[in-house]
Amino acid sequence: MTRVFIPSVLRSYTGSGEVTTKGNTLDEVLTDLDRRFPGLRFRIVDEQDRIRRHIRVFVNGQQTVDLDCRLAASDEIHIVLALSGG
């Protein structure tokens, strides 16, 4: 199971700062999260499958914008809010 760390602004969906998911790619993980926490994915990824401008996703500490990136069960994903002004 992949561990996903959730920023505070999205915990109204998940109820906690850390959840475990299943999926072989980042896209599958986000889809699994959305199935369990409806609406979460669209707040992070737009309708053209682009990670939103002020969201950063890190897999094992490395930033990725590729939803097709392959994941291992031991991977950790951090969803982080980028600076976006006041």
Binding site: V9, L10, P38, G39, F42, R43, I44, V45, D46, E47, Q48, D49, R50, R52, H54, I55, L81, A82, S84, G85
Partner: protein, 374 residues
């Protein structure tokens, strides 16, 4: 005597202000969605209890919040407005934020329209829970060219707004875009044609190019649905259908005030009456009260003349900006008129603009004000 609810959408959340019959006391309910940019919050006049609010945050993508108990509790739309996914190898826009919400025709309970940034038209059939693109508008030939590029929109992004459903005919729709002009459909959104004849554009631009047209706010007169008023980037206009030519009625405004602004508000029962909030459109386009002296202007003769209404306002050093959705009237007699400023002040008049009182100060930047009679 009925009360009034003011629905105030701000850059940092939303508030409801419930007024007593005399408008002497207002009870604040909020903030709702603190930290969310709320561009519009609208109460469904068909049932008097369904509320929709268009929100996003600085980080997260857009959504629609829904309440069926006037804001007592909220749910999130299952499928917020979103453009169709691009075909392989093609590009397509994505919704940055929903900017405008309009309830559908009374004969279509549950129907709502939404306008977005960048410009897109969306429709819900189920009280705002699921939204689908209106393909007849979004995918019409020339749609992207008419919308222009990012430089043709507002500083906060190009917007589709002023979605109007003809109260006599659910098939008959109007909308406006900044930029992109005013458009009309007579078949419930399947086909559209522009309505920009007579509108000025910034000197030097080609008025046949829809992208350079910037209607700031278009409103239909409830008491005479064939009459529309418009506050444009380039003046105040009136259109009496079936004519397709807008008439600039702002030339009768005092020359030291001008006819530039964002909102325009028609009287609910007198189609010759409308209110505007003029702002300075000279030089660097400050869009603040001309000379730092605030004033609402009202016409009672369809724009032939205008009367200043400023009793109750501070007299000088006032640099308010009032956005296009931030001024509204209720349906009481006499009519209540309301506006919110980007400096977070909410003002109300219970006598059709003759006198004004401040309801609240120190809110975040106000984006929209709606009024509902309860």
């Amino acid at each position: 005597m009925p009360g009034v609810i003011l629905l105030v959408a701000t850059r940092k959340g939303a508030w409801l202000f419930r007024g007593d019959a005399g408008h002497t006391r207002w009870n604040a309910d909020g903030p709702h969605f603190l930290g969310h940019v709320i561009n519009h919050m609208v109460l469904d006049p068909r049932d008097g209890r369904t509320l929709l609010a268009a929100g996003k945050t600085g980080h997260l993508g857009p959504t629609i919040f829904r309440s069926t108990d006037r804001g007592g509790s909220w749910m999130e739309a299952s499928r917020p407005p979103a453009f169709s996914k691009a075909d392989e190898g093609e590009s397509a826009p994505s919704v940055d934020h929903t900017f405008w919400l309009t309830p559908g025709h009374p004969d279509e309970p549950g129907a709502w329209y939404a306008g977005t940034s960048p410009q897109g038209l969306f429709r819900s059939e189920d009280y705002g829970d699921n939204w689908a693109p209106v393909a007849g508008f979004n995918d019409r030939p020339g749609a992207r060219a008419a919308a222009g590029g990012p430089q043709d929109g507002t500083p906060d992004g190009p917007k589709l707004h002023s979605i109007i459903v003809d109260p006599r005919d659910r098939q008959h729709l109007y909308l406006a875009m900044s930029g992109g002009g005013v458009h009309e459909s007579t078949d419930r959104g399947a086909n559209w044609h522009p309505l920009v004849q007579g509108l000025d554009v910034v000197p030097g631009f080609d008025p046949t190019n829809l992208a350079v047209h910037d209607p700031h706010c278009v409103r239909l007169c409830p008491s005479r649905p064939d009459r529309l008023y418009q506050q444009n980037h380039c003046g105040i206009y009136r259109l009496d259908r079936p004519s397709e030519e807008w008439v600039r009625i702002g030339k009768t405004m005092p020359s030291d005030v001008g006819d530039i602004g964002f909102p325009i508000v028609p009287h609910p029962r007198d189609a010759d009456c409308a209110w505007v909030f003029p702002m300075d459109g000279t030089e660097a386009w400050p869009r603040t009260c001309p000379g730092g002296i605030p004033g609402v202007y009202a016409t009672r003769d369809g724009g032939a003349s205008w009367t200043r209404q400023s009793a109750g306002f501070p007299s000088d050093q006032v640099w308010w900006t009032v956005k296009r959705q931030a001024m509204i009237a209720d349906a009481l007699d006499p009519v209540g008129v309301y506006f919110g400023t980007t400096s977070g002040e909410l003002w109300a008049s219970r006598d059709e603009g003759e006198t004004w009182t401040c309801v609240v100060r120190h809110l975040p930047e106000i984006y929209a004000v709606e009024a509902a009679v309860t």
